[in-house]
């Protein structure tokens, strides 16, 4: 593979001059520029990014550590992050933690070893040693979606409180009173917040959230299945189950179907995080949608700002309720009810 020396030889100039034209340095004669460009073309030369990074101490690469790539929410987030990063001249390396703190640590360590310029993370837990270390070491960093309280890092996320309030009002209006939740891990902010928001919203309607109606999940389908089975086994099962993410909703659907029961007739279902498939599930699932694309974009902007020495402002975007048919919205016997979309910000 041709190196910069080959180009210099081919162009009859020094490597310094070649480097200058490669980097668009202003003080290069038009003649030299052309000779280098031609030589580069002839040799099919491509600068070695590894060498360049070592020398300049920047890789133009962002690390993104997400909790679970198989979760459509995170897949879309990753896509949006890559898009925005590319637009700003950065590459991104994705690390999939699979909701495992040890894997998360493995990825931040690997990413740091590669000297990425900045780190975007959606922490799996309350803070694995590697992650905390990275934050302390001063690596430019920003949290997306989930964050860690007490760690001084900008947070880009969406606030589901209003949407959860809308959801509960919606369920209440439908006549439901026994509402349960499949919670995410208590070690995550989103895991905790969604339960809190749900409980608060219930309280506003004079409703309680008994312990038996809080199932501990881990944001994966399997836990949604197990928790739902538990709910179904209760002497007094809930009327509606609210899954704190789309994968646990999938699990809930599995569990209900495995019992030969139906949604929403036997039990209602709502989910946090909307995905295209929810339109076509049986029944279409009422969900809370986050502005994923915007979150990804904002996160990259904040991170790049930090990298360039800026403050990297936090941003919070609203989520919104999307009403469909999984909570008995049609009423018994009604085939094709209207499907209004309600926004959390009226």
């Amino acid at each position: 593979m041709a190196g910069i020396k080959d180009v210099a030889a081919e162009a009859g100039l020094s490597v310094a001059t070649v480097s200058r034209v490669l980097n668009g340095h202003p003080s290069v004669s038009e003649d030299a520029r052309r000779r280098v460009t031609d030589a580069v073309e002839r040799l099919g030369y491509r600068p070695n990014a590894v060498a360049r990074s070592l020398r300049t101490d920047q890789t133009r690469t962002l690390g993104l550590v997400i909790s679970d790539v198989m979760n459509p929410y995170f897949t879309e987030l990753a896509r949006s992050v890559e898009e925005e990063a590319r637009a700003l001249g950065y590459s991104v390396i994705i690390g999939n933690a699979d909701e495992r703190p040890d894997l998360q640590d493995h990825h931040v360590t690997t990413l740091l070893d590669r000297r990425i310029d900045g780190l975007l993370v959606s922490p799996t837990d309350g803070g694995s040693p590697g992650m905390l270390g990275a934050a302390r070491a001063g690596t430019p960093m920003v949290f997306v979606d989930r964050w860690i309280p007490g760690v001084d890092v900008p947070v880009v996320r969406s606030d589901g409180r209003a949407a959860v309030r809308d959801l509960v009002a919606h369920l209440h209006a439908l006549g439901h009173r026994r509402l349960a939740i499949i919670a995410g891990p208590a070690a995550t902010t989103t895991g905790r917040e969604r339960v809190d928001a749900f409980r608060e919203a219930l309280a506003a309607h004079g409703l309680e959230l008994p312990d038996a109606y809080i199932g501990q999940g881990d944001f994966q389908a399997g836990s949604g299945r197990r928790v739902t089975e538990g709910f179904l086994d209760l002497p007094q099962p809930p009327e509606v189950v609210f899954a704190a993410d789309n994968l646990m909703a999938l699990g809930a659907l599995d569990a209900v179907r495995a019992r030969g029961l139906g949604v929403p007739d036997d039990i209602g279902l709502a989910a946090f995080d909307d995905i295209p498939w929810f339109v076509h599930t049986d029944p279409p699932v009422t969900a809370i949608a986050q502005p994923v694309r915007d979150l990804g974009r904002a996160a990259v902007r904040a991170l790049v700002d930090r990298i360039e020495g800026g403050p990297g402002a936090s941003v919070t975007l609203p989520a919104r309720l999307v009403v469909r048919r999984s909570c008995g919205e049609g009423g018994p016997g009604i085939e094709n009810p209207p499907s209004p979309v309600r926004r959390s910000t009226p």
Copy 2:
């Protein structure tokens, strides 16, 4: 950040010795080893992977260029690839081509600039210049899922022929005769092969595949929607539509629903690539499942073999038909028909 020199100073040894213990070189005294280990610990030293790569000319990194991350099939493939790579001591950088040759080229170029040790690609088209160049330049490379005829690179893929035959036999037994397909891009092998397999299978039953029943899609939901609308507008619409991937099946579902029609009563639907959501769509979708995890694993093994100078054997794995209810399997009025799973290899 501490460098190897700091460690050497701290340990009272030369950087050469430090490097040796870091790399597990045998000829190092026990005493030196301990002093270095301690110094590393004290300083929280981590080797700079960029410098190491420059020196050793290997990055222990694999590039994976896929056609569309948002497609659950590829997401799962990417996950499996990363898992196996990690097990073998490699990291992977994912490039998402979004079915665009230009983006694909952007990613292979970037990946090559970073001097990845090997490239895994599922080509978006018949071969963008960058990709062909990489293959010619001798970068260790293997194709996954899709490949490019005439390019001498191992191929790891799944053969859907038998499963498509099973599907057509299944549809024929159900009494369907007018079968249509939403094809993938003709520039991709999977786009062509699935149409060919479908046509052959039809022929075996004395059925034709008229041009009007071949809709040109691009593996994305939007095209599935458009093609399906076209089918529905035909004077004689097909009885069953076979979507060549899961995203186009989603689009088909959208289109049918938008017309106020239903699957399978008004039109049947089958899809290539099975995904968890197909169990819960309305109705559950009959699909052809690929052994994705195994494909990912095999692809990484082949690539690493190539990197280490081996031949990197091609591998082809069978796909299988999963019968559900989207083709009228229940018959009119039957609520819960058995859902047999038929394997393509009897």
